[in-house]
Symmetry: C2
Subunit: 418 residues, 2 copies
């Protein structure tokens, strides 16, 4: 079987499964998710031994410690995957939810209701927990899923999908509803991206290279989970101790995430008071500071930030700092260098905060809070498949509802078009 | 200037304009739309003389009568464009509308609010009225627009855009917010589809070739307004006189539209009673009938329907007819041949109608009503830019709200990520 035939076969099975999944009762889907959770923990041994193969190859290929860590399964992580599936089972089912309902002058009732999207393709890099998380969310929203994980995790992912599929089938899910492309052939992704008649949506999760490949080659709609180059602007009217706590949290709490702060912008009026203490706290936590000329004049001895720093998502304990003339200059900087992800202003001035909220273009804009809070759980969505940086369909944290679409239902008594 | 440079220049101007448009007050946008409407009628002579150039070239290239008709402007059609802009001005502004608002356990308020998408690219074929309609809807929703109409209408479209731009600028709209690619070079579309950093959404309106070109080549998200291969299923429990009226309306009222019926499915139990009268009425209206073997046994002398008929969107006074064993067979036929556009069942049986509504996958599903009613005005959206056949972002009639996206606004008092 050629790689093309293989991918088409899997996608066809997923499409057939999607039609059945779309009309499954909520109880059946929930029972399946709970069954899958139980099966994952029950088969911990099998999962660990599959994972051991991936880890051995990772060592053989001399992958970095960080990558090996992301790849590693252990009983705790398997338990977390299972707990995630149980949480999704407990969430309300978005399918069938009524978005709007009107009675028109001609008497017909027009009801807009939530339905599954159909078949969702997930293209992701090495973390094997994504396999269970993404499959669980897609299934709960009534979608079949075609998974294509990184080749480093291929044995782990295949083992997880086998467990999920068997438990799903036992609970009455249609065959093929969790498809996994287990060929190491890299052309599998390219073939997948051509199947706009079979796959309805592609969600890529990973680095810049993956995003570019998918955006350039997909004939299927794409919702990107792309990078975050996030700023915090400390205004002249900020509560400086609050500002210090928020900025520290935004940078240090988990620097490798897309909603971590990469650049700190500080109003020139408070820079001489704020920056020395702030930078000292960062340096104590091991954060490397790269400053604009004014920052370096205030806090001597720090590295110079150059143009490239403003455009870099460090994902690390590095922070660029720029002193700005006013909020307009801060917003100009954000518009020019930001990635429309998570942007914050720290201020007590409500006129200025209102302007910042209105005028800054990002999937989430914060006043007096850490950009790290841009997250589906924090926002109350119950779960998230990621943070969409796309502007259409879903923007920001993407929960179960964003994994559905709508359908118009019209109830008539003989209405005609005049 | 190369065609690439030219398209990028226009898109950059549109992007700069979009940032300003996004925060314009509703009153300014409405005044601009009303000003544009007045300018279109005031400059009827100039528009007609530009249109005359297109019509002369159309005759020179021997375009069909139907195409020449679509292309033709006259004072009535110009008045209709102006009236359309005034109607859009009168609609509520979707920007700033609150989608949801929650207070989270940590005290932060999370508000999801509607914002413009940004820059919308419209690629369309010959009708010049689309230029004013699409620009008006996009602007009202706070978006800049890059228009690429069919080359047959290039003089008319350029003249319309000139009138709209001048009136818009006079009313305070930012320069470049209605961009028009007036180069006849066909590569302009291909260059446009590459600009995923500048254009946020592409809406193609036109035939199958255009849809394929755009889907295959766009790096920008696409919302398709694609074909409709729509069915009406007359159930064994249908009110047959209602069924006859609905089917006639669905086929004959305006056969060239995407929501017109192309295939009639009839339950075998009522076929002998229903079909002779129904088909006679169709034939009297000049509809050519192509039937399955059972249909032809009931009504002799009609043409045979072959496999190709089930997959053809006639857009004409032609109808394929198939007698089916039951509703499941009808739904199978629809799932196999339909385009998920507009599907109807005629029945008095509420259990069956409920199943049909649930199980048939389409952007709009009707009980006891004509598929021709799948329309933004009919559904109460106030206006529509078309009917989306995409499954994400907007599905079915696409109004002002579907020309926006959302942004999360978070109001905190020092909240951190734990």
């Amino acid at each position: 079987m050629t790689i093309k035939t293989y991918v088409i076969k899997k996608a066809r099975e997923a499409k057939a499964a999607a039609r059945k999944l779309a009309i499954l009762p909520t109880a059946t889907k929930n029972a399946a998710l709970i069954g899958m959770a139980g099966a994952l923990t029950a088969r911990t041994e099998a999962l660990l031994s599959a994972n051991a193969k991936d880890l051995e190859e990772a060592r053989h290929h001399k992958l970095s410690g960080a990558l090996v860590d992301r790849l590693t399964l252990n009983p705790k992580r398997i338990g977390d995957m299972a707990a995630g599936l149980r949480e999704v089972a407990a969430l309300p089912d978005p399918v069938g939810r009524i978005v709007s309902e009107v009675r028109r002058p001609n008497g017909m009732r027009v009801v807009r209701t939530r339905v599954p999207i159909g078949v969702i393709g997930i293209v992701y890099e090495s973390r094997p927990n994504v396999t269970a998380d993404a499959a669980g969310l897609c299934l709960k929203a009534g979608n079949a899923v075609v998974l294509r994980g990184g080749s480093e995790a291929i044995h782990s992912n295949a083992a997880i999908v086998k467990v999920l599929s068997e438990a799903g089938a036992a609970a009455g899910l249609p065959k093929g509803c969790v498809a996994f492309l287990d060929s190491p052939d890299r052309r599998a992704v390219m073939e997948m991206l051509k199947l706009d008649g079979l796959i309805d949506l592609i969600i890529p999760r990973g680095g810049e290279g993956l995003m570019k490949t998918v955006t350039k080659n997909s004939r299927i709609p794409v919702i990107k989970h792309d990078k975050g180059l996030c700023h915090t602007y400390v205004d002249e009217d900020a509560d400086l101790s609050m500002a210090q706590a928020i900025c520290f949290n935004a940078k240090v709490q988990r620097p490798g995430t897309c909603n971590a702060m990469e650049t700190l912008l500080v109003h020139e009026k408070i820079a001489t008071v704020f920056l020395p203490k702030m930078i000292a706290e960062f340096q104590k936590a091991g954060v490397e500071i790269r400053g604009c000329p004014k920052t370096r004049a205030i806090v001597p001895g720090i590295k110079r930030a150059n143009e490239k720093d403003w455009t870099t998502e460090y994902l690390d304990l590095i922070l660029s700092v720029r002193v700005v003339k006013d909020m307009d200059a801060a917003m100009e900087h954000i518009a020019r260098y930001g990635s429309q992800h998570s942007e914050a202003i720290i201020t007590r001035d409500s006129v200025r905060s209102q302007r910042f909220l209105n005028e800054v273009d990002a999937c989430a804009v914060f006043v007096n809070a850490s950009t790290r809070l841009n997250d589906g759980y924090q926002f109350g969505l119950g779960a998230e498949i990621g943070i969409s940086t796309s502007r259409i369909h879903a923007r920001g944290p993407m929960g179960l509802e964003e994994l559905t679409t709508t359908k118009y239902i019209v109830l008539g008594e003989g209405q005609l078009r005049e």
